[in-house]
Subunit: 287 residues, 2 copies
């Protein structure tokens, strides 16, 4: 009976679409002005929730680039496309226009979004941060959402996040300011991701290897992965002026965290033995 | 006469294809294990050389993902596609296989590349870093290049970089280890980029703005950009627990560095006046 249950489990897992794509929008990323910490933070959080980031695309503040990146991502049919950047009041904030163009719909003034924006500015006035405010076209712009979209409250800043469902894909648009992006993600996006991911957990650990070059680790990695089919092992050569070593990173995903932990522990023990036999030294790396 | 010369200059600039795409390969980027510092460094360097990074794509260690990302980039016809990662000896180093699949050619043992790899291991033996070495299939793998490719010497590590020309696009494959990537880029790729970029320079400066919200800066940005058509101005709201302000980033590209500097200075002065008139405060940000 157990084998049948396992089989059902496996089928369940494979039929759930856990693919996520990130699209980061902003010239500042393409000119190397800033590091893409948003993609890094999102990739880590999404992975830890048990979903799979399949691609990260960075494009500039260009309507055609944004809409084609979104259209291409939709064609790959991920469960979620999450964008960062381009939701603000300035002329180069073109993300929502890009989404509308990609899915062939109009932008319209969203009452709920406008209400959120108004409340935020009223709060700024009450706090004395600004003297007064008018609903200028630049402020109304932040409430011009694709038809049928849902605004996601921004607990930190002005521009709301946006959710649009299109052809089975959840399109989530988040601001580029990290604090705003993170706040909306935690409050409004995590619950949506959890619905898809269920109880999947991602488990990982790393080993520092010295005394065996990467090209000699290659067959050992293949051997340990063959005997631990749910564990992914990747080697990362680390070089600095003072020292160099190989980091071996072990990871797995499971609905049962103790199963995940056991898989990693078993493959690390196995790998450590093989490396010791070849005269190498291993040591766990603290996360 | 001057207007004619200017017109010729403008035609020259627009006919040179200065577009570059980056493709970063590695599961470690998609699970958020590491920050994509390679893309950041390359984008900054390429921009400072006067070229335009148009897109950055991150995919995992998956042959189909790699080859489709490369094929899609080729279709957009940039002057250069630069990849990072996936050139090493392990099973998941699939970049060159992905390139070969994308451009429909075979991988073959490249004598020059094999010689580079052999020399590197002989050096490791001479330095006592390893006792002996054999040309195992894992080491030969690093010399299996797309037919007609040119290996680019790796002054720091083992795997050479690779250059392939295909349909007018320069495909440059660099290792993922930052020190190796940077060394090959500086030694072998910069001269190729300079051939395309000529004497173009990128010039930038930033202004810290307080006391005017971003939505009220929006019309000022439009006004200054209209009157300084070669200058791009982008606003970046900065929030921290202690303080919040807007960074206004001014940038331009020109073949004449003094022209570039003057453009930026003029637009910064103009913007500063407009902000002061509205009761805001500005201060230059040191790079």
């Amino acid at each position: 009976m157990q084998s049948i249950i396992l089989a059902v489990g496996a089928i369940n897992l494979s039929t759930v679409n856990r693919n996520v794509e990130l699209i980061c929008i902003g010239n500042e990323l393409l000119i190397g002005k800033i590091l893409n910490t948003n993609a890094h933070w999102l990739a880590r959080r999404i992975t830890s929730l048990g979903l799979l980031v399949r691609r990260i695309t960075v494009v500039g503040d260009d309507l055609d680039e944004i809409s084609s990146a979104i259209r291409e991502a939709i064609q790959r049919k991920p469960s979620f496309i999450i964008t960062t950047g381009g939701l603000g009041p300035t002329f180069d904030d073109k993300t929502l226009e890009g989404v509308a163009k990609a899915i062939g719909c109009e932008l319209e003034e969203n009452k709920e979004a406008l209400e959120m924006i108004k409340k935020r500015y009223e709060q700024y006035v009450a706090e004395g941060r600004i003297k007064k405010f008018e609903l200028t076209k630049y402020r109304i712009k932040m409430a011009m959402l694709p038809k049928g979209a849902k605004p996601l409250p921004n607990p930190v800043g002005t521009a709301p996040g946006v959710l649009v469902k299109y052809e089975g894909v959840n399109l989530v648009m988040l601001p580029g300011v990290p604090q705003e992006m993170m706040a909306i993600f935690d409050e409004s996006v995590v619950p949506l991701l959890r619905e898809v991911a269920g109880n999947m957990v991602f488990y990982e650990a790393s080993l520092e290897v010295r005394g065996v070059p990467e090209s000699d680790l290659a067959p050992l990695i293949e051997q340990v992965m063959r005997e631990n089919p749910y564990v992914y092992i990747k080697s990362h050569p680390k070089i600095s002026e003072k020292t160099s070593y190989i980091e071996l990173h072990f990871s797995t995903t499971s609905e049962d965290s103790s199963v995940a932990r056991q898989r990693i522990e078993r493959s690390i023990m196995h790998m450590s033995e093989l490396i010791s036999e070849r005269g190498g030294k291993v040591r766990p790396i603290q996360a």
